[in-house]
């Protein structure tokens, strides 16, 4: 199964930032339900916009989303602040996901938290030598990340490695380098790959078109999961259609189910 994390509850989106500030739970509930119904298995929770209140805002968001969705959906805690990560992981009543852990020196506490919590982890293929530019960089960063996991005793199957998509608008080869990264990491290291797809279209017109086209390509290359807007039906259709076409959806059952669900709406 392809892992879909819903990206909409992110405090850097102005609507959400405002809702957090005003403790307007209705918007958060609507976003949580909308994403879950659209097929997200995991709802991302990001409260990083206000640093002073990140921990309390994060806990509030988790409370609201869990109250709305019960135990049907899991949450990923999206922060680069280790204190917030620790508090967020503890606040979840279903198995949470760490989003994310990089190769940077400062990721030590994230490794500890991953060990303590036993959570699944989105690892970033960056940090040891900065941002990855080439497919080779992505492979090497992933290798370093796996070594780090081995030393800490984190099993590889708990890990999804983010291939770091960057905009083709500022660097034209970034599409192919990320695609080759996925292919090579799957082949050479056998670990699951992941992508934050929408970065690829930054600074360009009709981002939806680029995002879903790139998603189809990434899935073909072997991508195992992505953080996307699941309420964008173009993106979800692309996930199901790609998997059916690539023979990864037996009898096309998931594709058919998803299309029927769409028709009923």
């Amino acid at each position: 199964m392809f892992l879909i994390i819903g990206e909409l509850i992110n405090s850097s989106r102005s609507q959400v930032g405002k809702a957090i500030q005003e403790k307007d739970d209705l918007l958060i509930r609507r976003l949580a339900r909308g994403q879950a119904e659209a097929g997200a298995q995991i709802i991302d929770i990001n409260a990083g916009q206000s640093m002073e209140n990140e921990v309390s805002n994060l806990k509030w968001l988790i409370g609201v989303v869990e109250d709305e969705l019960g135990r049907d959906v899991r949450l990923s805690i999206d922060t680069s602040n280790p204190d917030a990560m620790e508090a967020g992981l503890k606040a979840c009543s279903t198995a949470p996901v760490i989003n994310s852990m990089s190769n940077e020196k400062k990721s030590v506490r994230f490794v500890e938290l991953a060990v303590e919590s036993g959570a699944e982890v989105i690892g970033l293929a960056m940090g040891e030598h900065g941002m990855p530019k080439t497919a080779e960089d992505r492979v090497e960063e992933t290798r370093a990340l796996l070594e780090k996991c081995d030393r800490a005793g984190i099993a590889h199957d708990r890990l999804y490695v983010d291939m770091i998509c960057m905009s083709v608008g500022s660097s034209i080869e970034q599409g192919t380098q990320a695609l080759q990264g996925v292919r090579r990491v799957k082949e050479e290291l056998g670990v699951k790959t992941f992508a934050a797809v929408s970065n690829v279209s930054f600074g360009l017109p009709n981002r939806h078109l680029l995002n879903r086209t790139f998603l189809a390509m990434l899935i073909e290359a072997g991508l195992d999961g992505a953080i996307i807007d699941p309420t964008d039906s173009g993106m979800m259709n692309t996930v199901y259609a790609s998997r059916a076409l690539l023979g990864r959806d037996n009898y096309c059952m998931q594709y058919i189910k998803q299309q029927k669900r769409g028709r009923r709406k």
């Binding site: 850097s12 990083g48 916009q49 640093m51 990140e54 680069s80 602040n81 940077e104 400062k106 960056m126 940090g127 900065g130 941002m131 960057m166 905009s167 608008g169 500022s170 660097s171 034209i172 930054f202 600074g203 360009l204 017109p205």
Partner: protein
């Protein structure tokens, strides 16, 4: 001729720009005129169109690269004629932060506006900023951060500049996804810009 150069920069005609520039010079047009009357006005338009949403990032980049193609040819002549850059900017991404795309866009656009830009890279500590200011003596220091967890290093850089007795010699401008005008005011930066085009305007207003 100047208009042709301006149009070439606007259209991002990288291949033709060197020839056009050489033609203009051969016609006796001075390097300074080419800069002031063709290149800089073209980049002003590029910035404005980007701000208005009429131009996309790659369209901005190709224009900046085209301008650079001309400036490379003009630079020795400008130096010879004693023409000074509009100002000098030292720019970097703060400690613990590897993100360079936004910072590089700003560097390119500010350079396009006639500044000398020294791009000192990513993960720059307060000490390294201070060292770069001592070495390059810029008019402006630019800091970028993409994360709320790294943004907190911005006031440290400002403090370090104060302690080194350099704060009154440079203006400080900041930017990056989590940064706001309110944050700039709070930490005592001289300016905040939300994108590369407004950063260029800000740099001009600070010098």
């Amino acid at each position: 001729m100047l208009d042709k150069i301006k149009q070439a920069v606007l259209a991002g005609e990288m291949e033709g720009i060197a020839e056009l520039t050489n033609q203009a010079l051969a016609q006796g047009i001075e390097a300074r005129e080419i800069l002031d009357q063709a290149l800089t006005p073209a980049m002003d338009i590029v910035g404005k169109e980007y701000e208005d949403g009429e131009r996309y990032v790659p369209e901005m980049l190709i224009s900046a690269a085209t301008m650079k193609g001309a400036v490379t040819l003009l630079k020795p002549l400008l130096v010879e004629a004693g023409v000074k850059a509009r100002g000098k900017l030292v720019i970097g991404t703060v400690e613990g932060d590897l993100h360079d795309i936004g910072k590089d866009l700003v560097a390119m656009m500010v350079e396009g506006a006639g500044f000398e830009v020294i791009n000192i890279g990513t993960e720059i500590t307060a000490e390294e900023f201070v060292k770069a200011v001592k070495e390059h003596k810029p008019d402006i220091v630019g800091m970028s951060a993409l994360l709320t967890t790294t943004m907190i290093h911005m006031p440290e850089v400002i403090d370090a500049l104060k302690q080194a007795g350099l704060r009154d010699q440079v203006k400080v401008m900041i930017g990056g996804a989590p940064v706001t005008q309110g944050y700039a005011d709070k930490i005592g930066a001289d300016g905040y810009a939300p994108d590369a085009a407004s950063a260029t305007k800000l740099a001009k207003s600070l010098t």
